[in-house]
Amino acid sequence: MADRWHKLSQAPTTSASGEGTAAMTAADLFRDAPATTAVPLDEKLRQTYYWIVNRAVISPYYDVEFSSGAPLAFSLGDADAELTLPSEASFSSNVLLPLLSFAVGGKCLLVGGPGRGKTTVAVLMGVLAGSTPDDVRRGVQQGQPQLTISDLVGIPLPRDLMNAASLAEVGVAWRDWLSRPVKIVDEYNRIPTKTQSALLTMVAEGYVESHDQLRRTAPASGVESWFFTANDDAGGGTFPVIQALRDRMDVTVPAAGFNSRFLDELITRVEAGEKPEEHVPAELVFAPDEQTAMRAAIRAVPVPAPVRRRLEFFLSHFEFVQGGGRRFEYRTKDTVTTAGGKVAETIEANSGADLMADLGAQTLNGLSVRALQTLIVYAKAVAWFRGRDEVSLADVAAMVPFVLRGKLLPNPTHPRFDVGVERELSTDLMSWLGDLFAESCRQYDALGRGRADPVGEMLAQLDAGLDGVSAVEASRRLTAIEARLRAASASGKLYGRDFDDLTALKYLHQRYTAYLRWVEGRA
């Protein structure tokens, strides 16, 4: 029987400048295609993506959109629904994000109702890493209320338990799945809390411990990716997921529903009794050294300064809350939360700022460094996947909803979630997060932050070093810092976007004051 699964994209999956116009000869037509190993890794990953969406997972959804300029949009229905036609290659998140997680060695949480292909996608990732379909399926950890730590990691050898004089002499029969490159935990919100804690150590620290024995979970390539599934990520399930474990999920991806127009393909599979993971073409399997090289190539993609600046501006909105504390540095949401207070009430009590303009008022928390690192890694990954030389704003914007879902929590009492047209954002968190980033970029442009960045220049000036800086010059810089603080003080309004700048100015002031003291003392 012809293998209907084995069809890879022969044409390059992305276009490059000059492609198709370079001079050729007739003999070039018959030259062998480059050997499989010579396919660049990004092209191989794109081929893998297209194989999955075209052959393996029926997913005609293109929700990760890229467009040059405004996409063509159609208003549909009478409730402001809008369908957009992106002008550049766009992607299906429920395949792209797991694939990027596989590439970077990330942790991906797939959420959605039963039967939406979450586990199938995860199993495919395991096969792409070189395991057989049977091994991958055997290695899937099924979350259930009776799952113990021993079920998860293995058991001490009974012989050693009898004979050992100390714990160090107890050998542990580790479970095989622990060192697989792709680890899959199904329905992780049905796992008892104690077992979740053991899982957390594995996910967070990369090792597992039992009876004083320790085992690293990383495979030979050093790249391990984790896939978790859950029917929801809003606290449902048999056991609530411990926050530390939830925070370790690099990306959260909603599974897409089935498009009824593709029933024929489904019937064909039912009749043939076929499973996509059993038909992954060998050319698409990534060897351990390829996985290592792929992760290194992704990490090497540069983030240009203009994109970094917009990202800084976006992050600056969320930590500050006006009435969160008395000392300036303590006016943060973390101060309120760790003291058992309600951030929403603190935000509401702030009558001085415009809640609609203050993006920080829409969230109950700030962003962790871990979330930021993850955002950078995934933005690099999608830029690399798209064949770009550097990360663009579009790459960051595309990853924001998936990385920040579950990490940047909406403030349900904010007027935005209360009033008519935007109420749907209280349940559609992905759109809300995407919009939050877009609005931050609009504010960035409106405030002219891209044109002038005086605080950034002051920090760069300090970074250049203090060697040879005279006392007069240090005093001049101190005056400039105080002038900026005076200007901020005169505006009367204070938003999160200014908080980091103001604390940075204080930092600069401290550095220059200390330096000035030293210079004057030496004189």
């Binding site: 400048s17 198709g20 001079a23 000869t25 007739a26 037509l29 295609a33 300029g69 063509l72």
Partner: protein
């Protein structure tokens, strides 16, 4: 009627099924044509038409040369120079059949093509219009806004055009065209690049851009 991108010289393409040639992987050649921006299907038909006119004892080298001509006919811009240079090396009837041009017109075609990449015997009958490129994205084309600001680039047969906020480079000849999105506005050509008369035309209400070559009176 909805107009779609295409070449006016391509209205009656050659047809046929290519014969296997020992030592030549015709399927690989079709994939290369596709990867280089041409049509594998048109390549197969053009090659088959040319093969049918080759003598039975034709060498493998002749078939390779013919494949280059067929690849150019199938839209591979990069094969143009090679195909024109080697046109005399294959029998006249085979080259004409692969190109879909009457045998008697092949000499004039080859001669005119050396200076005008957009010429073919029927161009005057099309009032100088050569091909339409781009098209509406919703109908399988490239653009979501009508193209504007067309201009020639320095390279022969190359133009730039803006669709919405994005600039595109258009490379074309009589049989094929290639569109590549640009990162920004390209520099204006220092001289005329697309032959003495060719230009890219856009229209307010059309998603197509037309290459037009004024015919001498």
């Amino acid at each position: 009627m909805i107009r779609r991108p295409g070449h006016l010289a391509d209205t009656e393409p050659p047809t046929g099924v290519p014969a296997d040639v020992p030592g030549l992987d015709l399927e690989r050649a079709g994939l290369t044509v596709e990867a280089a921006g041409g049509s594998a299907e048109r390549f197969r038909h053009a090659l088959a038409a040319g093969q049918a006119a080759l003598p039975a004892a034709a060498s493998t080298d002749s078939v390779v040369t013919l494949a280059g001509i067929a690849g150019w006919r199938a839209g591979v811009l990069g094969l143009r120079d090679d195909a024109l240079a080697h046109l005399p090396e294959v029998p006249l009837a085979a080259a004409a059949a692969a190109l879909g041009i009457a045998e008697g017109e092949l000499g004039a075609f080859a001669e005119r093509q050396r200076t005008d990449r957009f010429w073919w015997p029927g161009r005057a009958g099309q009032r100088g219009y050569v091909c339409a490129v781009g098209g509406f994205a919703g109908l399988g084309g490239a653009w979501t806004a009508p193209p504007t600001d067309p201009r020639p680039l320095d390279d022969d047969g190359a133009f730039a055009v803006r669709a919405g906020e994005r600039w595109w480079r258009v490379d074309a000849d009589v049989w094929g065209s290639r569109l590549v999105a640009l990162e920004g506005e390209p520099p204006t050509a220092s001289g005329r690049g697309a032959g003495p008369t060719a230009s890219l035309l856009t229209f307010d209400e059309s998603y197509l851009a037309w290459i037009y070559a004024a015919e001498p009176a």
